[in-house]
């Protein structure tokens, strides 16, 4: 395991990525912006308080705001970071040389994924102390924050895998980035649109038997709702978007399982596609092909 994480590709990628001054500047700028928003919000909130203090529990909006900003950042950065991982090597004409070494496609793909996402994980970890402001005034439990970070980690993993898959699939980084964003948009907004369309349709077609509560409590609707990152995140934050109802499965756990499996499938597909000489999927049948 240690050998895997110190493999030459990870060392090289880390060296290349973190050597540049740009990385330091982006990290500094990110923390500055996040910190400014947080402190500015706290300042505005306490302006009209009688004793110029933030009341315990009322800072929940700060927590919400930070989570939403960070989620937006993940949606924006994670696919882009990995969308050029393999196609970039192809464009630089270094991929064939890399594949001719003893590094296996699995090692190359996983290393690329880890190093692509290392930076965004660094941003998340570096911004954790900002959440301490929220703890200062109470209202958010450590478990809630832990689940939120876990949710972010799984979302990063999924969007990263999505970008990596597109990067392996397409030849050009530009095309790969566009497809990655398109697919990410589908998962963030598209699933929500489909969900609300389906809910409305079910209600209208079966009026008046199917009430709002009835439809939202249908297992199929709940499973679809659990796929939407925004709905799941607001559920974790304790501000559900959908009408209050009892999920038959813990939403974030369901989300975690589904998206971890999807990520694993995308990574496996990427590894398969990266092989210079691919074995047929139905082993023993047919001949090898390129």
């Amino acid at each position: 395991m240690v050998e895997f994480f110190t493999n030459p590709l990870i060392v090289k990628e880390m060296r290349e990525r973190f050597r540049s001054k740009r990385t330091v500047w982006i990290l500094a700028l990110y923390l500055f912006v996040m910190g400014t928003i947080l402190l500015g919000f706290i300042y505005i909130t306490q302006l009209n308080e009688p004793y110029n203090i933030l009341m315990p529990g009322e800072n929940y909006r700060v927590f919400l705001l930070m989570a939403v900003i960070q989620f937006g950042m993940i949606c924006f950065i994670a696919p882009a970071l990995s969308a050029g991982a393999i196609s970039g090597e192809r464009e630089r004409q270094t991929l064939n040389i890399l594949l001719a070494t003893q590094l296996s496609p699995v090692k190359i793909i996983v290393s690329k994924l880890l190093t692509s996402l290392a930076f965004i994980f660094l941003l998340i970890v570096a911004s954790l102390p900002l959440y301490s402001f929220v703890f200062l005034y109470g209202g958010v439990s450590p478990a809630q924050l832990f689940i939120l970070v876990l949710f972010f980690a799984i979302t990063i993993l999924f969007f990263g895998s999505l970008g990596l898959f597109c990067s392996t699939w397409t030849k050009r980084t530009g095309v790969s980035t566009i497809i990655s964003y398109g697919l990410a948009f589908f998962f963030v907004a598209g699933t929500g649109v489909i969900l609300f369309f389906l809910v409305s349709l079910l209600q209208e077609v079966n009026r008046p038997e199917y009430t709002v509560d009835y439809v939202w409590n249908m297992p199929a609707v709940q499973l679809l709702a659990g796929l939407n990152p925004v709905i799941t995140m607001f559920d974790i934050l304790g501000r559900p978007i959908e009408p209050a109802f009892e999920f038959f499965i813990t939403p974030w756990l369901y989300y975690a399982i589904v998206y971890t499996v999807l990520s694993a499938v995308l990574i496996a597909c990427s590894c398969y596609m990266l092989q210079p000489v691919r074995r047929p999927l139905r082993l023993g049948l047919g001949r090898r092909r390129s």
Binding site: E16, R19, Q93, A100, T101, Q102, P276, S290
Partner: protein, 308 residues
Amino acid sequence: MIRTEGLTKRYGKLEALTDLNLSIEQGEVFGFIGPNGAGKSTTMLILSTLLAPTSGKASICGYDVVTEPKAVRQVVGYMPDFFGVYDNLKATEYLEFYASAYHIPASRRRSLIADLLELVNLSNKADAYVDSLSRGMKQRLGLARCLVHSPDVLILDEPASGLDPRARIEMREILKELRRMGKTILISSHILPELAELCDKIGVIEKGRLIACGAVDEVSVGTRGISVMQLKALEKQEVAEKLLAEFPYVKRLDNKNSHFRFHFTGTEADKAQLLQMLIEAGVPVVHFGESRENLEDVFLAITEGVGS
């Protein structure tokens, strides 16, 4: 060392390589000659385990390129015709990355990299960033990269393409050194003369087919009943050119001012007749004789009519 049997590669209806049979012994330098799209790079990609053949077999050091790719990669150093480098790395870091990618122990890497940089005359650029190197230097660094795992076989696809004359000479000297080290080398090049003094054997490939293969002498123009002739006339070059062009055994006439170079397919008596005609026409001939053939002549003579 390198064997191919009936190696064929098709891309849909296009047959990039047809029934290629090659046998290259240990320590040999084999030159692959052919125009763009002839199938040289396809062959090299298959031998480097980066492309699957449609049919046929290929092996290097006894390892099958399709079923034992890991073993093949350990004994082959591959340099593609176009390749990029990682710009944000220093020359030593670049080589260190590939050394570790071939599982070279960390304790050996430092001395190995120093030796390789010495071999390719880049010791003074050890700490320079790769993007600051000239094209020739990058090409030499690429060659050093091929050698990090001390492979027995080198597959070099157009190693001198895009290099200026000085860089080409430097590259050729390094390749000669590698030949002295006993490496088996499969090399392709567009610049044909540069292969002549380097190769033990050459293979001429056109439209995916190997149309001639053997030692440079065996595949010479002379064995095909063609001689390469040279003529120098002090004056009346137009008359000389007209006579040469009209003479039935003269092919591929090349006029460089007062120097003429052409392929002659006739007998010795025909040569004498041609010279007599020139003198009778009053052309002041100062030189008339056979020229030293080069690989360009070999290639042109062999591929005559193949494309049509």
